[in-house]
């Protein structure tokens, strides 16, 4: 499917994503201007402050965006009763984007004003202008061009960085990029990347035009000041409005998911089942990377998501691995209730464990059946693992020790890229998920975990107890979802999305219809 075709077929969703993206950029740049320009002015009056403040802004720009998001999410900072920093969603994304855009704006305001011809400043002072009059009537108008150049740089940075904000459910064109990466779909990646680049170019041209106009002095005949003030006020009003809105989600059940295909499908299954059976309004907050879903559940930003028993035991509770599925489930159930007041409901019926995968040809050629078989020849192999697998307690370190694996090279990359890397002979062995639809698509072979290193990963909806109390009907819905999926079934659903490029929500709806779970009686 070509890019144009895709965008035409999905123009509604595409339009929404573009709007979300613009919203993030305008809001962030706007707030950054409201903070950065006064700070820049302050620096011209108190030059001693310029080192610490510019230094801070400088450091902020060097912090990788995902790290900054991760750092901001657990925070809980309130202004009056409104949360201004912390949690998933646009709010946190905007805070991070503001921190990124501050540097060019502060720096350009500072240099713009500092570079005003001293003779002109002397003339103004000699004519009896107060410091304020000098600033507003002389220095700021003359520095406006340079300040705008800073805003322009900040805006372009924001457009780019905002794509990453999709990782924390802030929306925007990054959704297509992440979705595309996950599904190995270049069209999807381009559908996010190309419009984002176009927005950046467009913003650059537009602000460049303003900059030129102002430098020509055309705007500054009294109108300029009014325009500046009114646009500042409008921005302020929008900012205030958004914070008020984002502060509450009111009377809805928020369903979350992690950031891979299976999770999005499961999220849709849970969400649609709740919608059909309880009639409650459901908000979807999908694609939360790493442990964000758990964080969001803790923060009350989502009410429910599907977790895997092994992940809960090892990654969240940080306990030792257990082999027996029942034992694992009991353990997480009682600990989650005690520590977090979360309830593990009925298991969905399948175990999505790590699948150690090799190319089917290799498996035949070397006669490989188990991981132990592969361990013997691992020293000539290159392995590719997702960041998650490399770092988690039950991941690479313990796994390689258990089997005595020594690879020629170990590559760490995005999970979704490992399949492609394996298929393209870039690596020879990867750790995927046993339910992954791409396994059959790429003709991969799953090696048996003959030493039973990986604990069971039964998929189970985890829900806040408070939500269950508020919506008692929810318990019935979740009970009905118990045992509806097998590994095989899940693999098919995943393939329908990853392989056949169908939408997760359609795949989920058809599945629920087949099972008669959408009957609105």
């Amino acid at each position: 499917m070509s890019l144009i075709e895709f965008l035409l077929n999905n123009r509604r969703e595409f339009g929404e994503l573009v709007l979300e993206h613009l919203f993030l950029v305008i809001m962030s740049t706007g707030i950054a201007v409201l903070i950065g320009v006064p700070l820049g002015i302050l620096l011209t009056r108190r030059p001693a402050l310029s080192k610490p403040i510019l230094g801070f802004a400088n450091i902020m720009q060097t912090v990788p965006s995902l790290a900054l998001f991760g750092f901001l999410i657990p925070l809980n900072i309130y202004l009056f009763q409104f949360k201004i920093v912390g949690g998933i969603g646009a709010r946190t994304a905007i805070v991070a984007l503001v921190l990124y855009s501050l540097l060019p704006i502060i720096r350009n305001t500072f240099t713009g004003i500092s570079n005003v011809d001293p003779a002109i400043r002397d003339a103004g002072r000699g004519m009896g202008m107060t410091d304020r009059q000098l600033l507003l009537q002389v220095e700021l108008p003359l520095a406006l061009g340079v300040i705008l150049a800073g805003v322009r740089v900040a805006t372009v940075i924001c457009v780019g960085t905002a794509t990453i904000a999709a990782a924390i459910d802030a929306g925007g064109l990054g959704r297509y990029i992440f979705r595309g990466l996950r599904a190995n779909d270049n069209t999807l990646i381009l559908a996010g990347a190309v419009p984002a680049a176009l927005i950046a170019i467009g913003a650059d041209l537009l602000l460049g035009y303003f900059e030129k106009t102002i430098q020509l002095g055309v705007m500054v005949r009294g109108k300029g000041k009014k325009l500046l003030w009114s646009s500042g006020l409008v921005l302020l009003a929008i900012v205030g409005g958004i914070y008020l809105f984002s502060g509450k989600s009111g009377g809805r059940i928020a369903v979350g998911s992690k950031d891979f295909t299976e999770q999005v499908i499961l999220g849709e299954i849970v969400a649609q089942a709740i919608e059909a059976k309880t009639g409650a309004q459901v908000t979807r907050r999908f694609d939360l990377g790493g442990n964000l879903a758990h964080e969001a559940l803790l923060g009350g930003e989502i009410d429910i998501y599907v977790e895997y028993s092994g992940t809960g035991l090892l990654a969240i509770l940080k306990e030792k691995p257990l082999a027996d599925p029942q034992e694992v489930l009991q353990r997480v159930r009682s600990e989650y209730a005690k520590r977090f007041k979360f309830e593990w409901t009925e298991p969905l019926g399948f175990n999505n464990t790590f699948a150690i995968l090799v190319r089917g040809d290799d498996a035949k050629k070397f006669g490989l059946k188990t991981v132990s078989d592969a361990a013997k020849i691992s020293h000539q192999w290159r392995a590719g693992f997702g960041q998650d697998f490399m770092s988690r307690a039950d991941g690479y370190p313990g796994f390689s020790k258990a089997y005595g694996l020594h690879f020629e090279a170990t590559r760490e990359m995005d999970l979704s890229l490992t399949y492609r890397a394996l298929a393209e002979n870039q690596v020879d062995l990867i750790a995927g998920n046993s339910t992954d639809g791409l396994i059959s698509r790429y003709g991969l072979f799953q090696l048996e975990d003959d030493r039973h290193y990986f604990p069971p990963y039964d998929a189970v909806p985890v829900v806040r107890q408070a939500t269950l109390e508020k919506y008692p009907a929810l318990r019935g819905v979740l009970k009905e979802l118990g045992g509806i999926l097998t590994v095989d079934e899940m693999r098919k659903l995943n393939y329908a999305v990853d392989g056949e490029k169908r939408l997760a929500k359609d795949v989920a709806r058809e599945f629920l219809e087949r099972r008669g779970l959408l009957g609105r009686k």
């Binding site: 003779a119 002397d122 003339a123 003359l142 002095g217 005949r221």
Partner: protein, 263 residues
């Protein structure tokens, strides 16, 4: 005979007075030492001297862009340190060598800056600007809406003078206002300025390093060297003085006349 000549000698009223004024930089460098000086109302005092002799420092002490390290500068009977700096500056027109026209404002807006700061009605500001443009020899209809960069150096200088006159201040400070002009324009503008001066009767302090200009415009000349006033008197006194700095400037004046004289 210039009527102001007599006025300057028996000036009835003192507009500006320096009483043993010194100005020392934080680094310890003395820019001005023990300056004593009186400028009568309606008089034009020219401060003459080489670069770095303390002329501009003297000017900045009058409109309180700087405060004296020792001594007192008295404007209208009150030491400058007791004046509100803003109030003081609004009573004193200021023209600097670089002119300092605001590049983002039109000529009319530039001239109207101080009246606007003083809260004049827009119509009155505009009318005043046009009146002054005509006074300094610029056609208001042609120039009012232009920007400074669209004017020649001489035209900008005239605008600078008009701007200093805008709110009709009793005192005007001019710091080498014609320094950057070509000799012909400069000569023209000096002549015009002289008649303007007689017409307006303002108290003026005029800084220059050009002795010919000092002779054309000054009722009295103060000669500064290394921050000290070495001579204060009418032009004739400068030519007759035996002080080496006075003789150096006098020599320049005679050279200039010799070159200018037809062969």
């Amino acid at each position: 005979m210039n009527p102001r000549f007599f006025e300057s000698i028996n000036s009835l009223e003192t507009a500006i007075e320096f009483r043993d004024v010194s100005f020392v930089l934080p680094s310890g460098k003395t820019l001005l030492a023990h300056l004593n000086l009186q400028v009568g109302r309606g008089e034009t005092l020219v401060l003459l001297g080489r670069s770095g002799s303390g002329k501009t420092t003297t000017m900045k002490l009058i409109n309180r862009l700087i405060d004296p390290s020792a001594g007192q500068v008295i404007v209208d009977g009150k030491p400058t340190v007791e004046w509100d700096a803003i109030q003081l500056r609004r009573r004193i027109g200021y023209v600097i060598q670089e002119i300092g026209l605001f590049p983002h404002l039109t000529i009319e807006q530039n001239i109207g800056v101080v009246p606007r700061l003083e809260g004049w009605e827009p119509d009155r500001v505009a009318a005043r600007a046009r009146q002054l443009l005509n006074l300094v020899g610029l056609d208001a209809d042609r120039f009012a809406d232009r920007f400074p960069r669209e004017l020649s150096g001489g035209q900008r200088q005239r605008v600078g003078v008009a701007r200093a006159l805008a709110a009709d201040p009793p005192v005007i400070l001019l710091d080498e206002p014609f320094g950057a002009l070509d000799p012909i324009t400069r000569r023209d503008i000096q002549q015009e300025f002289k008649s303007l001066q007689q017409e307006l009767g303002k108290t003026m302090v005029f800084v220059t390093h050009d002795i010919a200009e000092a002779f054309v415009l000054g009722s009295r000349i103060g000669l500064l060297k290394d921050g000290e006033m070495v001579l204060l008197g009418v032009p004739a006194e400068l030519l007759e003085s035996s002080h080496p700095e006075a003789r150096a400037f006098a020599a320049c004046f005679h050279d200039g006349q010799a070159i200018g004289r037809p062969a």
